[in-house]
Amino acid sequence: MAEEIAAGTLRSEADNKGILQSDAAVLRSGMHDGMPIALGYLVVSFTLGITAHTAGLTPFQGFLASFFNNASAGEYAGFMLIAAGASYWEIALITFIANARYLLMSCVLSQKFAPDAPLYQRLLIGFDVTDELFGITIARPGQVHPYYNYGAMLVALPGWSVGTALGIIAGNVMPPAVVSALSVALYGMFLWVIIPPARSSRIVAGLVGLSFAASFAAVHLPFISTVSSGTRTIGLTLLLAGAAAWLFPVSAKEENHGA
């Protein structure tokens, strides 16, 4: 593989003190750990593609969206607003809100880079900061090894973006019962992100429960229900997360536990 040869050359030039594995081996280990993530992505992004299909995207547009966004909640929110014919500002704001957690993950990762790590490494690894890749990156002790992330990205990126395109193609031909069943897979992923931390933290559990209730109320209350769903999501997030941060400021220990 060309990349492995290139990695090996870089290895001999770089000052890799304390690192026993070659870059090629680290790349392979990243691909290995990225494989189950890629398979999960393929399934979940397939259902994201069904949402994209209802928003009027072509398979190619879905591929582009997923390749350049790598975000389930962010893309989902974006597709809903595209379907509603929202303004570019609304799309930018909802993308920011739905992906705000990556801002924190990126902040956390910035602490795991060597201060002299080159800009291109920060750009490449930052490009694919997702819940899962962040998880396996943080699980490795010591500083970020870029080739581990590159390896995981090599399998995770195609899994996510090809899955979305396939979902758009299949959305045309599948029976309604199957579309209906698959359309909840994304919510399953959301639950998988928010429920385990809710189990270990009563504050997070309270926040999740309160968010469910507030969101339900907002859909049915006379005045608020006339606001678009994207704007409701933004408003409720700012309100609920802001109140939680004000009432229950977290310590660094809790942050690591939750992430």
Binding site: L191, W192, A244
Partner: protein, 102 residues
């Protein structure tokens, strides 16, 4: 207002990329502000919970199927099931309950 889908995609990609890359490239030391750290910590839970419910009830053909999928998903995630298990179980619950109900 008329909007191009490629315009939407470009805006989404630019914002997503900026969010992920700016902290990594600009921050060389830790954020100290406790409110900001706490706010960013809580944001994903509030956003994802708000987007999940009650929207999951409208995603399916019958709201009851969505409610059952929600209950199954919460129970499995609570008990430490994998991403694939939680997602797949939600789909199976909807498929079976709609097949039984319709």
């Amino acid at each position: 207002m008329e909007h191009n889908i490629y315009g939407y995609l470009a805006v989404m990609a630019a914002v997503s990329f900026a969010i992920r890359v700016l902290p990594l490239t600009l921050i060389r030391r830790q954020i100290k502000n406790r409110f900001l750290r706490s706010f960013l910590f809580y944001v994903p839970y509030a956003t994802l919970a708000v987007m999940t419910f009650p929207a999951i009830l409208d995603a399916t053909q019958t709201p009851l199927a969505g409610a059952l999928a929600l209950a199954a998903g919460i129970w499995l995630a609570w008990n430490g099931a994998s991403l694939f298990m939680v997602s797949a179980a939600c789909c199976v619950v909807v498929f079976l309950s709609e097949w039984a109900l319709c």
